[in-house]
């Protein structure tokens, strides 16, 4: 239980304690009023318990019914099928819909097929606009996320490429989309993922002689006081 919750009961405890103390001093003439207050508090507690029970029941019902197929599912299946047919069957590690993000179709690809998949997506699915490249450090492994969008049809696709922590290696998308150049240099600089095939992989944010990659979870800051 995070520190906040520990905080609240104790703090509301003090507020309630403050109230009870006030009540104690005003005990003599406020007897019926105190009884009324206790009864009201009991009723409130009962009502709250009932509401919670109803909510849990609703959740259970909803989880058991199969989630309605997301509108973008056919789009995703088409893209996945295209990649399996054109590139290789085992190129895709995982294919799923990210509901949180407005049902964004997401595919996770293997690094060695990533360059051919990128060219395929750019030509076949007209995903000409690489909108964002982010690097994420999941402690167990590193990951690069490419967000693509087609300006004509407005269809979107997120592509993720995993890389292990010791020797992170991802083939670069700069030959396919020129915008990936600086984004990948920034990820190399802050997370240390080496992008093979990148025209000039140098540090972009940090000074060139900087040691370590600051955005990694296990990066100990230079002066620990921060």
């Amino acid at each position: 239980m995070s520190e906040e919750e520990k905080k609240e009961p104790q703090e509301s405890g003090t507020a309630e304690a403050g109230e009870q103390a006030k009540q104690k001093t005003a005990e003599a003439e406020a007897d019926p009023e105190k009884a009324a207050k206790l009864k009201a508090a009991a009723e409130a507690r009962a009502a709250r318990a009932a509401a919670k029970a109803a909510a849990e029941a609703a959740e259970a019902a909803e989880a058991s019914a199969p989630p309605a197929p997301s509108p973008k599912q056919p789009e995703l299946d088409a893209a996945a099928a295209l990649i399996r047919r054109e590139v290789a069957d085992e190129a895709l590690e995982e294919v799923y819909i990210n509901e949180l993000n407005g049902h964004m179709p997401t595919i996770i690809v293997k690094n060695d097929y990533w360059r051919s998949i990128a060219e395929l997506l750019k030509i076949e699915n007209d995903l000409t606009y690489l909108r964002n490249v982010s690097g994420v450090d999941y402690e167990t492994h590193l990951e690069v996320v490419y967000h693509l969008v087609s300006l004509q049809s407005g269809r979107e696709l997120t592509v993720k490429v995993k890389a292990d922590r010791e020797k992170p290696e991802v083939s670069s998308a700069t030959p396919v989309w020129a915008t990936a150049n600086w984004n990948e240099r920034e990820i190399y600089d802050l997370l240390g993922i080496v992008f093979t095939g990148h025209p000039d992989l140098r540090r972009i944010m940090m000074p060139d002689d900087w040691v370590g990659h600051p955005l990694r979870k296990d990066y100990e800051p230079l002066d620990s006081e921060v």
Binding site: E8, E11, T14, A15, A17, E19
Partner: protein, 149 residues
Amino acid sequence: MKGLFRGLGVTLKAMTSPKVTTSYPDVPFEMPDRFRGIQHFIPELCIVCNQCARICPTDCITLTGKPNPDPEKRGKVIDTFDINFEICILCDLCTEVCPTEAIVMTNHFELSAFSRDDLFKDAQWLTDNNTLVRKDNNNIGAPAKGGAK
């Protein structure tokens, strides 16, 4: 050539039109009521709940409470309350989460000092900074009255 002369016409007209600059150091610049200036601290209202120290993005508030001196009251009373104005960004989150509005913003913004430790303001200084205090304090982040549910 026509564009050049039209441009000259605009600047000529501007020459005779009223000026917009304010003479700040001589005439004080009065800020609207909601302006986020230097904080004003009211020690009596503070219940030492540490909310402001925890919400501060730059951790520049350091406060210590001491048990309540008169016996029958429970809870804590504030002992020292310091804001380090070197790193305080006047983002108004502390006044937002303070349940008892013990810390409030004022309209003052002159904070320049000759040495860094002048910027380390203590509770006394913050309490004296009581002119032009903001009236419309809306602390939506604070827990509702009567303790959190």
